[in-house]
Symmetry: C3
Subunit: 269 residues, 3 copies
Amino acid sequence: MALVTFLSDYGLQDEFVGVCHGVIAMLAPGTQVIDVTHGVPRHDVRTGALTLRHALPFCPPGVHLAIVDPEVGPSARRAVAVAVGAGDRVLLGPDNGLLMPAAEALGGAVEAVDVGLSPFRLEPVSATFHGRDLFAPVAAALARGEPLGAAGEPIAADQLLPLALPEAIVEDGGVRAHALHTDGFGNVMLDATHEQLIAAGLRLGAPVSVQSRHTEHPARFVKAFVDVPEGALLLYEDARRMAALAVNRGSAASLLGVRRDGEIVLRAG
Amino acid sequence: MALVTFLSDYGLQDEFVGVCHGVIAMLAPGTQVIDVTHGVPRHDVRTGALTLRHALPFCPPGVHLAIVDPEVGPSARRAVAVAVGAGDRVLLGPDNGLLMPAAEALGGAVEAVDVGLSPFRLEPVSATFHGRDLFAPVAAALARGEPLGAAGEPIAADQLLPLALPEAIVEDGGVRAHALHTDGFGNVMLDATHEQLIAAGLRLGAPVSVQSRHTEHPARFVKAFVDVPEGALLLYEDARRMAALAVNRGSAASLLGVRRDGEIVLRAG
Amino acid sequence: MALVTFLSDYGLQDEFVGVCHGVIAMLAPGTQVIDVTHGVPRHDVRTGALTLRHALPFCPPGVHLAIVDPEVGPSARRAVAVAVGAGDRVLLGPDNGLLMPAAEALGGAVEAVDVGLSPFRLEPVSATFHGRDLFAPVAAALARGEPLGAAGEPIAADQLLPLALPEAIVEDGGVRAHALHTDGFGNVMLDATHEQLIAAGLRLGAPVSVQSRHTEHPARFVKAFVDVPEGALLLYEDARRMAALAVNRGSAASLLGVRRDGEIVLRAG
């Protein structure tokens, strides 16, 4: 497991990410660390969880460190390591739902430990920087081959905190979906799948009506951005294999006035 | 070729860059990846191309992955791999001019293949994230030693799309130059060389008149920022060996109201 | 010493950081480079110095490259390499105070050389990008095992330029402290230690009065953010083991109108 992936909401302005890299290099020399992203909006567990779910299937097995941790503190939430699927991947982070969508996408949790009092911690553990004092050292220990059971106290996998997510509904003549996530380009990922769009009667290449905040917007259900003119709204299956809305060379989030979990109804136009 | 350099306009807010790193680590374990920058302004092929040209001569030979790709899509533009110079470097990216200034700086294209249907692609190839599904997998294949010819269909090197760039002209008593690029500090790179400045009668250490948007600004032709007071405009040869304008601890781009390719005339002051 | 840590104010928008990585990879293949951060505010030697001091104790021994260099130029300031502590760490950068707090934290300077005319430079050395032409090549040389003495001319360690920092004073019933540094979350690090707070009669768990710019703000002296309600001001020992002020899920810097080195008086509330 000499590979660690690392996602956080630390940003790159301060030294927080660099220090975690330093700790891993000290405690597990030679470990490769892949930064998934550190641009998750601060304390935004939802965005962190979805980002992790989409990224990890494209990363090699290893230790998957993820820190978006609004409740950091001595006793505020559990810190967990969760083996998933065939056991060659371990998710590591706060037990606040952040890890769960990725765990499910990778085959489900098969073993979990509470690492809050892990023997691999760096003492003294600060109250505010568990990335450095708790999570990075445990990641390093697992990366250098320590067994999961040595990293903490066993807990039942079904007691891990789930993440609440909305769910799209196929209706007569349309899909009642929700805005799950907006990326840096203003593209809006929905909670609907390509299959749900087809089941609702939407057809690739045909016009679509997009209703958001009581306003109807004309769009087209296409494969790629270049299939519509600049400035036009498109519905497409995004790279994460989810339905998404975008404006070619513009921002669908701005056009639609999207709020998180806001309802977006798609109907054949 | 177990080294990949990587430039893009993906930014670091989302997981796009991290996912490409993940794919390369999966398909070519042990490959070193150097991030040139992912801060190219979105869809700005020109800035990406100039940045690549300046950076690659200071990077080891290897696979030089570059993605600034406004026309991404199933059939919108070719995707190419281009061997340059002695053949120990391969440029990989969209065929939209992005790779060409670097190719020229590194000895010129000697072999090229269209990788759009490369056998190394990750199926299914999404319509919008060719970085993950096409470019990173092909980069990984080349990095682990696959020959260029196995990555796609041969194309003539002289059919690659060139990049249009303005050209400075030496006139009687001055240089008619253009603003090629502005960096994050507000320094303005011109399309004139040090040799052109000298040919136009400008002398190191002497005053210069800088005309931009019908306004004349006094400046000094010097070696370094510290050779002028804080807030003063300077003309200098920048680290890329091009003429450039800067304000010591300020922004020349703001002072001069610079637009891309805007004409800037330099005369002995 | 096949490990280099790298801190700068270059930012990640341009290719400056990537080019330094490229140079190190060319001149010292196989060297691991850990980016501490490149988000130091431009030319902010103070913030760079404090960041380096806090980060390096959590990084493995090696070459510690740091570039925040407002006076870059052919003759404007010395460029130095400084061996510290047991000699297994070398700090490398401009001699403008940037390296000194870290040097002190790591055991003090034991040997120093002026690398301005180092034989390891990349010729021609540009006037503006010493990161690429001077510092990265010297870092690479030291990383591949060249002795410090080969990198430049010996200078006395006590002639290195110190960094001026304010100092907190314990008074009757309080601590007269100063705002040393504000991080990206708006948390304000002070120049007071936990020990000084206790000596001034402040008690963990008790109310504190925080005076900044002639205004008193109620706060609580606690261990962690979660020990106060959202929006409340807290005084705590931060991960750097310094007294700090924060607002739970908010910005103490905004609330207090903090300026650098601005006086902040803490009294038992």
